[in-house]
Every structure is written in structure tokens, then in C-alpha cells.
């Protein structure tokens, strides 16, 4: 599941050497405990709760992995040089992408349990009957295979090309990556929209919102930047990114701040239109997510996903402060999880469930994800040493 044997075996810095397997035993133990909890929750708490949790973590994993890939492609497409020294962080985060394959294939089994359009007699609802040409098993599965396939392919092109450049020092690799990035952007726009419609909207197939793909995109990029910042700060604090200064972190904070506003804007646009129109076939979706036990989650989401990072990063000093950026990043990733939970969990009739199965899923997926990212530090150097713009990036000054 890693890049290729050639680049993995290629010299890695002493910095990443000390980071790999720092506590592998603990992570493996946590994976085993979490995995046991995950499996037993299927038998003890029923398949519906199991699949809802599985779907939450599947979507959350897609958000982080594609958010990271987006940052990599964004840097190539804009020709930004300041981010070149930091690029290995999102590239390593994107190592989650190949692991989406098993998670997605398993998630397919949730279709007959969770999704309203798979239920017998669903086509009696005219709103769902209209959508049967889109929502049917063969086409749905084909779309998933295409989406995940394109993501893994893009990951291999974008990240493997960059890691190989560490050794070859070939400037042509940068040119090739810059050519592929716009193509990836188009692929991302189409696949993420299809993914959002398929895996979240179609849970309640009667509902529709054109902006929904953008909503998931905004959350994915916000959490991708937050995860990147965390990884960069981790390396920066230990002095493993020589030449990287607070000015680089400031830009990460600025991106996080900007995309926080973008998320708030998109989220409120979607909410306001459906709230105002008050059409029964649309508004029930928000009704389920803003009433009862979910009301608290809804308010927490609005404050936590927008106002907290907005106010925490508004001043220039805040963005220059790595401690501030670190806790805001952790917070934003947590809020993105709450966002996905809020989207997926309250499907018809299902209230707010928080208990040991949720904890088991969290332990399993978090420790497994952490292990994947730690193992990804095998990949190349801590900085893309072969990139011709690395020098420019290290010379970046804000002031």
C-alpha cells in the first residue's frame, strides 16, 4: 500500500527514523482493542449502529485524505513556493488514500441497511422513483469504484512523482506534477460531489441540495489544512524542518482561517435557503438535524466549526503563534468529525447514539490512521529535496 519499494528503501532522514515505530506496540494494541470492540458492536448493538459508525469514519477518512491531496495539488497548480518545504506533510497524510479501498468495499455492505432507496417499496415515493436511474446497485457500485480508483491513481501520480524526485532531482518531475494538478482538480470536483451525493445525501434519498458537494469539500479542505498544520508543527518543533519559520506557519494559519470562513459561508448558504423555502421534501432533513438530541450538536457545530477557529485565528499574532495554530488544528479536525457525525448519524428515526461502540470505532480508526501516517514517514525526505523551488520556499519571508 505504500508508494513503491524503490522509494521506500531510499535513504530517509534520521529525523523520520526516530519518529517511526516510536510507540508501535501501543498503536497495534489499540488497533486490536478497537477492532475487537468494532466487531463485537455489530453483534451486540445491531448492524444499523455498526454501519452508521462505519460510514462516519469512512467519510471522515475521505475528508482528511482528499483534503491533503487537494493541498498538494493546490500548491502545484498555483506555483506557490512558500509551501514547497512543507509539502511532504500533506503528501504523507495522503497515504490514507490507498487504505480507502478496503474501507469503501466494506462500506458497500451498509447499502441495504442504511440507505432509504435500497429499502423494499422505496420506489413508491415519487421523489425516489425519479432517481432510480442514478440510485441503483450496479451504477452506485460502479461510481464508488471509479471515484476511489481515481483517488488512488491521483495519489500515486502526485505523491510518488514527488517522492521519486528526492532521488532523481529531475526538475521535469515538477513540470509533470504541475500539468497533472489541474486534471486532478477537475477529477476531485466531480468525484467528491458524486461521493457526497451517493454516500450522505442518498441516505435519505428524497432530500436534495445542489451545494452539498461543495459543503463536504469545504469541510475536507479545512480539516486537510488542519492535519497538515499539525504534522508540520510536530516536525518544526523538533527542528526537523530547518529553514522553516513562523512565516510559513502563518500562511498555513491563513489558509485555515480562510477555509473556515468558506465552510461557514457554504454551510449557512445551504441552511438558509432550505430553512427559508420550508419545502417539506427538503426541510425534513434539517428538521431531523436541528431538533431533539441533535439540536445541541447543531449549535455546537455552528459555534465550534466556524466561530472558534475564526476568532482564534483572526489576528496576525495568532497565526504566527504555533501553539495557537496547534490547538486550533486539533479542534478543527475534531469539529470536522462532529460535522460528518451530524451529517450521517440522524438518519430517519435514529437518535443521537454515543456509547462504547462509538468509542471503539474512534480508537480503531484513529490508531490505525495514525499508524498509516507514521509509517508514511518512510516516504522520501522530510522536505522535497529534489524540488527546484525548495530554495525559494525556504527563503520565504512574510515581513
Amino acid at each position: 500500500m505504500s508508494i513503491d519499494s524503490e522509494s521506500v528503501s531510499y535513504a530517509h532522514s534520521s529525523a523520520s527514523e526516530s519518529m517511526i515505530y516510536r510507540r508501535p506496540g501501543i498503536l497495534w494494541a489499540l488497533i486490536a482493542v478497537g477492532g475487537a470492540g468494532v466487531v463485537s458492536s455489530y453483534f451486540l448493538e445491531g448492524p444499523e449502529r455498526f454501519w452508521a459508525n462505519w460510514l462516519v469514519w469512512f467519510v471522515f477518512m475521505v475528508c482528511i485524505a482528499l483534503g491533503a491531496l487537494f493541498i498538494v495539488a493546490l500548491q502545484h497548480i498555483t506555483g506557490a513556493t512558500w509551501s514547497v518545504p512543507l509539502r511532504r506533510a500533506p503528501e504523507r497524510l495522503a497515504a490514507l488514500t490507498p487504505w480507502l479501498v478496503p474501507v469503501a468495499l466494506i462500506a458497500l455492505f451498509s447499502l441495504p441497511v442504511l440507505f432509504s432507496w435500497t429499502q423494499p417499496g422505496a420506489s413508491a415515493d415519487p421523489a425516489i422513483a425519479m432517481k432510480t436511474s442514478w440510485l441503483n446497485y450496479p451504477f452506485f457500485i460502479a461510481r464508488l469504484v471509479i471515484c476511489v480508483g481515481l483517488w488512488v491513481l491521483s495519489y500515486r501520480i502526485l505523491v510518488a512523482g514527488s517522492v521519486r524526485q528526492d532521488r532523481t532531482k529531475d526538475p521535469q518531475a515538477t513540470v509533470r506534477l504541475r500539468r497533472y494538478s489541474p486534471i486532478f482538480m477537475i477529477i476531485l470536483a466531480l468525484t467528491l460531489t458524486a461521493f457526497a451525493f451517493d454516500w450522505i445525501s442518498s441516505l435519505e434519498a428524497g432530500w436534495y441540495s445542489d451545494i452539498f458537494g461543495v459543503y463536504l469539500f469545504a469541510g475536507a479542505v479545512t480539516s486537510g489544512i488542519a492535519a497538515t498544520s499539525l504534522l508540520v508543527i510536530y516536525l518544526y518543533r523538533r527542528g526537523w524542518l530547518p529553514g522553516v519559520t513562523e512565516d510559513h506557519l502563518y500562511n498555513l494559519g491563513g489558509l485555515l482561517f480562510g477555509f473556515t470562513i468558506f465552510w461557514g459561508y457554504i454551510a449557512f448558504s445551504q441552511y438558509l435557503l432550505q430553512w427559508y423555502a420550508n419545502l417539506p421534501e427538503e426541510v425534513f432533513w434539517f428538521q431531523q438535524r436541528t431538533s431533539g438530541a441533535m439540536e445541541g450538536v447543531f449549535i455546537f457545530l455552528g459555534i465550534g466549526h466556524f466561530f472558534v477557529p475564526f476568532l482564534a485565528l483572526i489576528s496576525r499574532n495568532d497565526k504566527l503563534n504555533w501553539k495557537r495554530l496547534r490547538w486550533v488544528s486539533v479542534w478543527v479536525i475534531f469539529m470536522e468529525f462532529i460535522d460528518v457525525f451530524w451529517l450521517v448519524s440522524p438518519i430517519e428515526g435514529r437518535g443521537l447514539h454515543l456509547g462504547w461502540p462509538e468509542a471503539a470505532f474512534a480508537i480503531f480508526f484513529l490508531s490505525a490512521g495514525l499508524l498509516i501516517i507514521i509509517r508514511a514517514t518512510h516516504m522520501g525526505e522530510d522536505m522535497p529535496v529534489g524540488d527546484p523551488f525548495l530554495g525559494d520556499g525556504l527563503n520565504f519571508h512574510l515581513r
Binding site: 449557512f268 441552511y271 438558509l272 430553512w275 427559508y276 483572526i314 489576528s315 519571508h397
Partner: protein, 376 residues
């Protein structure tokens, strides 16, 4: 030295030389420093120890104030000043206010940033900076980097300052005198105000004159100019000068015969339904009933309104015994003239349609109280 001194300028060949000179001149005891460069130089803010701009704080404060004002304005008008039910939403539905709050915040923040930067922090309008008449300015705008040691007292030792700059590698030095009256006085502001007013008058009267000579050319007038009288427009054809004439006394519109009965009971005795009981009449009655009556009386006539409880009306149950017993004429009269809080519908529903509704109400009553005979 009689005239006061702005400072002593030293010109350096490169930005690096300038950056190296700044901490050294600071240790030599000169703390009031300024730098002039042909392009922005990285690191010069920290080297000169420039204070952080307060503009961000000001923008944040004004922006927050704008947001709060917009909220208060929306809240007061929607809930206290002029509460108006819109789209069935509560009066204090905050969701609709957010757009105004966001727009007000952005607008006022932008104005604060722009105007505050120009006038409060850059202190514009500002004429005659002391550096402008200096000899150094030509080089500064081209390829030299100037460091200015500002005079901190009237008795600045210019020779010593120039020597210190030269020692650090300054190519040339120059003593720059202070310029008097750098900010405009009251006369300037008056002149400016008069000029703005004059410009407005000239532009406004010029525009008015141009429109007078060249009236607006309309590309298409077919819809706008029509050979008919507008409502309420005067007309000299009639003696009273009105375009709209009152109908002659006693005129009755077709389908809107006035009801002569003074009370519903009287109408119940005097009036009979002129319409036959046919499928067509009942269908028309059903359509009109659902259109006008059902919103309060329910589609079955049970008097359970679809409206929100805030409407607070208690419509009559048309299925109740008194309503079953009431004569056709009674129902017709109530429909036409209104009763209690129910308004009259004579202006909205034609006479025939009102009678058709009466037929339909009868059918509704029978549908809810069927006898075995009806099943046959």
C-alpha cells in the same frame, strides 16, 4: 543653526548594507530611525522595531459594532417595532438577519480599513514631506537605500551623525531641514469643501441641462404609450374633469346582486337556492369551497383551521347540528355579509359560486352523516 532639522540622511548601495547598518547605528545611540527604500525590504520592520499597526484592532472593533448594530436593528424592527409574519416564520427568526449582519460587518470593516488607513494612520491629507525637497530623494526612488537619523532635540550634532553614517558605509550624507506647515489648515479645508460643492453644482446643473435639451431616448415606447386613460388620471371630456366616472345610481354588476335581507334568519326564510343539484354545480362548489373556505373551516367543514394557533380564530363547525338545520339562505347570507370575525366574501366570490358552495356544504354534511338509505 536657526532652522530646525528633520534628520540626517545616509545613502547605502544595497538593502543588505542598510539592514546591517541599522542595529549598529542603534548601539551608537541613535534610536529614532526611518528608512526609505525603492521597494519593500524583508526584515526592515523588525530591524527598525516599528510598532505593530493598530488598524487591525480598529477594524475588528468597528466590524463587531456593525454586526451588533445590524442585529439590534433587525431584532427591533422584526419583533418590537413592526412585527410582521413572513412565510410562517417566528418574529424572532434570526436566520434571516444573518445576511444583513454579515454585509454590514464587511461594509463597515472595509470602510474602516480604507478610511482609517488613509486618514487616521497615514494622516492624509499631508503636504510637503521633508524628504521630498532633499537631494537624496532622486536616488531613493531609483537604486539607493536611505537611513534617516531623526533629530531628537533642537541641538542635534549633525556632523557627528553624518560621520557615524559614513563610518557604517553610507555613500553620501545630507542634512535635511524640517518643512513648516505639513498639514493643511482651516483655509485648505474650506477651499476643498467649496470646490466639492461647486463641482456638484456644475455637474448637476449640466446634467439637468443636457436632459432638458436631449430628452431621454426610449428604445421602445409601444407598451408605455397607449391610447387610453390611466386610473385616477384627469380628463376634460366629462364635465367633472375626471377620467374615471362613477356608475349610474342603482347599477348592479352581473352576478353580484345585493342581498335585500337584513339578517341571516330573514335570508333563511326568504331566499332559495336557484341552482340545481348537478355534478357540475357540486364540482364548482367543491373547487370554490376548497379555495376560499377550507383554510379556516377545513376541507370537511369541521372548523379545525389549518392555520397556526396564533391566528386565534374559532371557525364554526359546519357539521354541527345548528349548521345542518340552518336554511340555504342563512348560509348564503353569512357567506356574503360575514358574521362575527368572519369577513363577507361578496366581493370575492360571485353569487352563483356562493350558491354552489351552499350546495357543496350540504353534500359535505350528508357525507359525514350518511344514513343506510344513502348506501343503496
Amino acid at each position: 543653526m536657526s532652522e530646525s532639522i528633520f534628520g540626517v540622511v545616509g545613502l547605502f548601495r544595497s538593502a543588505d548594507e542598510l539592514l546591517e547598518a541599522i542595529p549598529k547605528i542603534r548601539t551608537a545611540g541613535y534610536s529614532k530611525l526611518e528608512a526609505y527604500t525603492p521597494y519593500p525590504v524583508h526584515g526592515i520592520d523588525q530591524a527598525l522595531d516599528l510598532p505593530k499597526s493598530k488598524l487591525g484592532v480598529l477594524v475588528f472593533l468597528i466590524g463587531s459594532l456593525a454586526c451588533l448594530s445590524a442585529f439590534t436593528f433587525e431584532w427591533w424592527t422584526s419583533t418590537v417595532g413592526y412585527p410582521l409574519r413572513t412565510g410562517g416564520k417566528p418574529f424572532d427568526a434570526w436566520q434571516g438577519w444573518v445576511l444583513v449582519m454579515v454585509e454590514a460587518t464587511i461594509l463597515l470593516s472595509t470602510f474602516t480599513a480604507g478610511i482609517g488607513m488613509l486618514f487616521a494612520f497615514n494622516k492624509l491629507p499631508f503636504f510637503g514631506h521633508p524628504m521630498l525637497p532633499s537631494k537624496a530623494i532622486a536616488s531613493i526612488t531609483r537604486d539607493r537605500f536611505a537611513l534617516v537619523l531623526r533629530s531628537e532635540s533642537a541641538t542635534m550634532d549633525v556632523e557627528a551623525a553624518a560621520a557615524a553614517l559614513s563610518a557604517l558605509g553610507a555613500e553620501s550624507t545630507e542634512v535635511v531641514p524640517e518643512v513648516e506647515e505639513r498639514t493643511p489648515g482651516i483655509a485648505w479645508w474650506l477651499r476643498t469643501a467649496v470646490a466639492i460643492v461647486a463641482a456638484c453644482v456644475v455637474a448637476g446643473s449640466g446634467t439637468a441641462w443636457a436632459i432638458h435639451i436631449y430628452p431621454t431616448v426610449k428604445p421602445m415606447v409601444n407598451m408605455e404609450v397607449q391610447p387610453r386613460l390611466d386610473a385616477q388620471a384627469p380628463d376634460r371630456f366629462f364635465a367633472n374633469g375626471r377620467g374615471m366616472q362613477l356608475p349610474p345610481a342603482g347599477t348592479v354588476a352581473r352576478g353580484y346582486m345585493p342581498i335585500l335581507a337584513a339578517s341571516p334568519d330573514e335570508a333563511g326564510k326568504d331566499l332559495i337556492n336557484p341552482l340545481p343539484v348537478t355534478a357540475q354545480v357540486l364540482e364548482r362548489g367543491r373547487q370554490q369551497f376548497n379555495l376560499h373556505c377550507a383554510v379556516c373551516h377545513d376541507r370537511l367543514g369541521t372548523g379545525k383551521p389549518w392555520l397556526d394557533s396564533t391566528y386565534q380564530a374559532m371557525p364554526v363547525d359546519l357539521q354541527s347540528a345548528p349548521m345542518r338545520a340552518a336554511a340555504d339562505g342563512y348560509l348564503f347570507w353569512v357567506m356574503s355579509e360575514g358574521i362575527r370575525t368572519m369577513p363577507g366574501y361578496a366581493a370575492d366570490i360571485s353569487q352563483d359560486d356562493r350558491w354552489a358552495i351552499v350546495r357543496y356544504i350540504r353534500a359535505l354534511q350528508r357525507s359525514q352523516d350518511a344514513t343506510p338509505r344513502d348506501m343503496k
